[in-house]
């Protein structure tokens, strides 16, 4: 029977990887990928806690919410990126510093 620790460590690694991806990439979509990593790390954490009797089923429910939110976030973010691309023909977020369309 595995304990909680391996899951927590994995989740930490995924979180850091996500942050690193966000920092290192200039491409908006690549950054979105980083955000997905962070969200998944968090969800994994919660499910692991719930599995090991901490917080009963609420961990799984919270993870469910994370998935749903991630879907909503991805949709809106992609719509924004496409608009962004439409306006300045690139998805380089460094170019999006003008605050106008």
């Amino acid at each position: 029977m595995m304990g909680l620790t391996p899951y927590l460590i994995l989740s930490a690694i995924l979180l850091v990887l996500g942050i690193a991806i966000i920092i290192s990439k200039r491409n908006a979509i690549a950054m979105l990928i980083g955000v997905e990593f962070i969200l998944n790390a968090a969800a994994l954490n919660m499910v692991a806690f719930s599995r090991h009797g901490i917080g009963a089923l609420s961990g799984q429910t919270a993870a469910l919410f994370v998935i749903v939110l991630a879907a909503a976030e991805a949709v809106v973010a992609l719509a924004i990126f496409l608009n962004f691309y439409h306006t300045i023909s690139t998805v380089d977020i460094d170019r999006g510093d003008q605050l106008k369309g």
């Binding site: 496409l82 608009n83 691309y85 439409h86």
Partner: protein, 390 residues
């Protein structure tokens, strides 16, 4: 034919921005020369924005075989087989056009039986050609089955042609001075059998394809070609009649005793969208098949005994002069501009291919279509590359 005010100017250059919802990357798409729905070796360069086509430029010449130049080197009789290969789906009609042009310049009279035979074969070939167009149009729309049904019927027509002329695709049957040979025994009977068999089949095609809801949605209101545009670009045949103009050379300037027959000119009425959309062009072909059946029936009734050819020397010599003669081909008006210097071969022969002129309207109709509409458009124009490139 009523006078039309020409408003559309041919303008092949597209320069203007077509606004769309989310602009994505523009793509240059090379449709053809090997593409299933370009009906041969046509190459269309599409400029697309997502699925939206901004500009379509046809590039032709992949099947150029110098037919016009060859005409200057061979005798008139020898050129007849070359006309087979112009619009290879309607070889009889091509033969007829060339023969009529030569006969007009040479003042050659044709016996009545030959005239009726010419009408019978031309109309049968019109049916065959339209069957091919209808079937492959179904294929362009993603329905495979109509194609096979149409080929089944076309097979019968080809059998009839084979028994009369010996060939199944390039007949060279209608020659200068009449037709090459008389009919074999029982041919008329078999032809009648075919007509009786074929007529109800047209209803089946309509039920299967023409009135199919998806098909109507795919073709109705797509590629609308108004009458003035069709005239401005020299569109003829179903491409012109589909736009609502009842213009048919068989009625306007009757040749081969077409004035003796009772038939109608079907035109597009915009039943499923604007007049002149793809569905109209398609449906005009279906209706023309019905009319052709009518004509063939009448011609079979009128078929008299007698010679099928006038005496024409083996090597025809035409007087110096020039003639331009047009006949109504399945795809439109096929014209032969023949200039003779009194020798045994043409000084210059210019062929007006209906597919070529009809194709020229593509760049005008294509912008703002979807990618799938391009194949709908090409199929409804129904080109034969052998005639476009000559």
């Amino acid at each position: 034919m009523k006078e039309i005010e020409l408003q559309c100017q041919p303008d092949l250059l597209y320069d203007g921005e077509i606004p769309s919802d989310v602009r994505t990357e523009e793509l240059m798409l090379n449709m053809g020369p090997q593409h299933p729905s370009t009906h041969g070796v046509l190459r269309v360069v599409l400029q697309t924005d997502g699925e939206l086509v901004l500009k379509a430029t046809p590039y032709i010449g992949y099947l150029h075989r110098c037919a016009e130049k060859i005409a200057e080197k061979v005798t008139y009789r020898q050129f007849t087989p070359y006309t087979d290969r112009l619009d290879y789906l309607a070889a009889m009609n091509n033969n007829l056009g060339f023969a009529l042009a030569v006969e007009k310049l040479g003042g050659i009279e044709v016996p009545p039986r030959a005239d009726y035979l010419r009408v019978i074969f031309a109309e049968l070939n019109r049916i065959g050609s339209h069957l091919m167009a209808t079937g492959s149009y179904g294929l362009d729309m993603g329905a495979f089955t109509p194609l096979v049904y149409c080929f089944r019927e076309r097979e019968w027509i080809m059998d009839l042609f084979e028994s009369a002329s010996g060939a199944r695709l390039t007949y060279s049957y209608i020659t200068i001075g009449g037709v090459r040979e008389d009919l074999p025994d029982g041919w008329v009977q078999r032809c009648r059998e075919f007509l009786d068999y074929f007529e109800p089949k047209i209803t089946e095609y309509n039920n299967l394809l023409s009135y199919n809801h998806i098909f109507i949605n795919r073709t109705g209101n797509v590629g609308v070609c108004p009458a003035d545009l069709a005239v401005a670009y020299g569109g003829t045949g179903p491409c012109l009649r589909g736009s609502g103009l009842a213009w048919d050379l068989r009625k306007a300037t009757p040749y081969c005793r077409y004035n003796e027959f009772d038939f109608d000119i079907p035109v597009g009425r915009g039943q499923n969208g604007a007049v002149g959309d793809c569905w109209d062009r398609y449906f005009v072909r279906i209706l023309e098949m019905v009319q052709s059946v009518r004509i063939v029936r009448q011609a079979l009734d009128k078929l008299t005994d007698g010679p099928v050819q006038t005496k024409v020397p083996r090597i025809v010599k035409l007087p110096a002069g020039e003639v331009y003669y047009e006949v109504e081909n399945p795809r439109g008006q096929l014209g032969f501009h023949l200039v003779s210097d009194g020798g045994t071969s043409a000084y210059r022969l210019k062929i007006r291919g209906p597919s070529f002129c009809n194709l020229s309207v593509l760049p005008v109709l294509a912008p703002n279509c979807l990618l799938a509409d391009i194949s709908a458009l090409l199929g409804s124009i129904d080109i034969v590359m052998g005639e476009v490139d000559r």
